[in-house]
């Protein structure tokens, strides 16, 4: 019974991790940029959702879409105005730039939202399936996470813009020759990354207490998920997220909670060396 509960916990956690990492993975895969801003965007999404719910009485599910759209615009602007100009530079430059943007965003968040932990309280209850407990809000979060992931997958596969993104990811020069406006596609991609971060942040706010200093924690998870799963693909993030969720849950059970986080990072380091393309075998940039 304990073990079934352990697996259930792991899977629900894993779905959230997948959703958390997907935007980060997309940006890394397509733009070749390690987006240090990702964690803060997530926190921003969470706080905006909370503010809409708490101060204006907007249902979090509705707020989620508004917040996601707002973050898309923010992401598009950041990429178009700033990152596009250094996108071809070495990883050191892009990583440092996004880190600097993170400092700015973090500072404004701590001034406007303060660091008080907040939570969207929905009280959806718990399903008790013969001793296995499944909290409904987490289940809903998981379903939402999977829906968003599925939606992104379809968009990337079917829509014009999605196919353009995939084309740029595969071969930038060729995509340029085919008349794709790479700068625009870059900005759209970063926008989608921010959108996914915002939406995930909204989901997280329903499940977790949000504080402004969670940004680096989220970012760390995104790193691990990407390395485990493989870069720049929806499947990769999904596999990576679920594996990380299960590893943390199992390690926490058998080794004790002290080692849950260590196990995740250790797995990342091992995979980095043994299988840098991740479990799904999608190859990233060198």
């Amino acid at each position: 019974m304990l073990y079934v509960q352990m697996l259930v916990n792991g899977i629900m956690l894993g779905a959230l991790y997948a959703c958390l990492a997907i935007g980060f993975s997309l940006v890394w895969g397509v733009l070749n940029v390690i987006n240090m801003l990702h964690g803060s965007l997530l926190v921003l999404g969470g706080y905006l959702t909370y503010t809409a719910w708490h101060d204006y009485g907007v249902h979090p599910l509705i707020a989620l879409f508004a917040v996601a759209f707002a973050l898309f615009l923010l992401g598009y602007a950041i990429q178009r105005i700033l990152i596009n100009r250094v996108v071809d530079m070495p990883v050191l430059v892009t990583m440092t730039l996004t880190f600097a943007l993170d400092l700015i965003l973090y500072n404004f968040m701590i001034v406007y939202f303060t660091a008080t932990p907040v939570r969207v309280t929905l009280n959806l209850g718990v399903i008790d399936a013969g001793g296995i407990f499944v909290p409904v809000d987490r289940l809903a979060g998981m379903v939402l996470a999977l829906l968003l992931t599925g939606l992104l997958y379809v968009v990337l596969r079917r829509s014009r813009i999605g196919r353009a993104i995939v084309a740029v990811r595969m071969d930038r020069s060729a995509a340029m020759l085919m008349g794709i406006r790479v700068e625009h596609i870059y900005a759209i991609t970063f926008g989608i990354g921010a959108l996914m971060a915002g939406a995930t942040g909204a989901v997280f706010a329903m499940v977790y207490p949000m504080t402004t200093d969670l940004d680096f924690t989220f970012l760390g998870k995104a790193f691990i998920v990407c390395i485990i799963g493989g870069l720049g693909s929806v499947q990769g993030a999904l596999v990576g997220g679920l594996v990380l969720g299960l590893v943390e849950s199992i390690a926490g059970q058998f080794l004790g909670p002290q080692y849950a986080l260590t196990a995740g990072f250790a797995l990342m380091l091992v995979l980095l060396v043994a299988m840098p393309t991740g479990l799904t075998g999608v190859k990233g940039f060198e």
Partner: protein, 402 residues
């Protein structure tokens, strides 16, 4: 020549910044007592640190409005000099040194938490600068032989024994305890301390583990606790950890007749974020607005402090607010008794403190811990904080949780 000009340029730039960085120190007035406060206004400790900032400013305004502190017959105003050390220990030490040598403050207030208090205390000790710590209670901070460090909170060890004894008396059916603590100075010492106290009192410690800083999912730890079926669950951590843990306990159906969490439930944010889930949680704290003391200083009674605070912040104060405001009261009292701002004399006056303030009685042991400190045990009942202990101030009885 080309190279010369290039390096001159660099030197010029560097010196320009240097001048910029080092200039602009405010002019110093002689009749002001300056108190330095390194604060963690950003970073993980921001919530707690902002509370310190609020009450210290409140205290300064109150003292100055009443004419200042009497230093050997001369009334002097107080000024707070604060910096943000961003919850970064290295920074805290650096800023403490800046406050002492550059801003030439007369006294120091310690930052939030035991870890950073320890760092600042080692700087203060070097400069023989009296340091009042209003939010550290870990014995490991006070057993370093620091002579200039004075705390307010009662020591953790005593607190653990009290709560174990209280729970055993009120709920004799309790036989086993599960302890789940955050691996960080204060919460960790609380968790290990209660484990010892529980063993000493004959309870069976069914589960005892720490979770690392940065854990955002507690399912595995809580599932294991559930399997251990303890009568009493004792969790330590900071507010956001405890909110999450309480929420996940209900998600996973983890219950026990007594659930104690330290040190979140004393704060309003805890109940705000949890709603009905907060009900039934017990905790202990160092101070509660319901206590009623009469004492020295700008706030003659507990009520007068609570009233001032509510008027300004529109919420009830918690123990950090009270102990940090009391830090000011104690310092002012020691200065008045010493009749001078001399560090050594004020330090001696602090050491011989034996007063009651709105916060409670203060009397220092040789190591700088407040040995007169008491700890009210509280329980959230119907989203209100009720005091269960000590008997003098209690307004409710322990309710067991189902």
């Amino acid at each position: 020549m080309k190279f010369v000009s290039r390096h001159c340029l660099w030197l010029a730039f560097a010196s320009a910044i240097a001048v910029m960085a080092l200039s602009g120190a405010p002019a110093q007035a002689d009749d002001v007592i300056k108190i330095g406060a390194p604060l963690a206004l950003t970073g993980p400790l921001a919530v707690e640190s902002k509370k310190q900032e609020v009450v210290w400013n409140m205290w300064v305004a109150k003292v100055n409005a009443s004419g200042g502190i009497n230093v050997g017959g001369k009334k002097m105003n107080v000024k707070l000099v604060e910096y943000d050390y961003q919850s970064d220990g290295q920074r805290a030490a650096q800023l403490a040194e800046k406050l002492i040598t550059d801003d030439k403050v007369n006294f120091l207030f310690a930052p939030f938490g035991s870890g950073h208090t320890k760092i600042v205390a080692s700087v203060a000790e070097r400069y023989q600068m009296p340091l009042i710590a209003c939010s550290s209670s870990a014995e490991t901070v006070y057993n370093q032989g620091f002579k200039y460090l004075f705390g307010l909170l009662a020591a953790n060890g005593a607190s653990n024994a009290i709560i174990v004894k209280y729970i055993k008396t009120k709920a004799p059916s309790i036989k086993s305890i599960a302890i789940y603590g955050r691996d960080d100075v204060f919460p960790k010492s609380m968790a290990s301390g209660v484990a010892e106290a529980a063993k000493a009192a004959g309870l069976n410690v069914a589960y005892n583990n720490y979770y690392p800083v940065g854990t955002i999912d507690h399912s595995s730890g809580l599932s294991a606790i559930k399997a251990a079926k303890p009568d009493w669950i004792y969790v330590t951590g900071y507010t956001s950890d405890l909110i999450l843990i309480r929420k996940q306990m209900s998600d996973l159906g983890v219950t026990a007749p007594v659930v104690t969490m330290v040190a979140g439930p004393a704060y309003k944010e805890y109940t705000d974020a949890l709603g009905n889930l907060a009900n039934g949680i017990t905790s202990w704290t160092w101070w509660h607005p319901a206590v009623n003391y009469q004492g020295v200083g700008v706030w003659p009674t507990t009520q007068s402090f609570v009233k001032d605070f509510v008027a300004k912040e529109h919420v009830e104060p918690d123990y950090i607010h009270a102990s940090c405001a009391a830090a000011g009261v104690i310092l002012a009292n020691a200065i008045e008794r010493a009749g001078t701002l001399d560090h050594q004399k004020v330090r001696d006056a602090l050491a011989s403190t034996n007063i009651t303030t709105f916060y409670g009685p203060i009397k220092y042991a040789a190591n700088g811990l407040n040995e007169a400190g008491s700890i009210p045990i509280i329980q959230i009942q119907n989203k209100q904080i009720k005091v269960l202990y000590p008997d003098g101030v209690k307004n409710a009885d322990l309710e067991l949780m189902k």
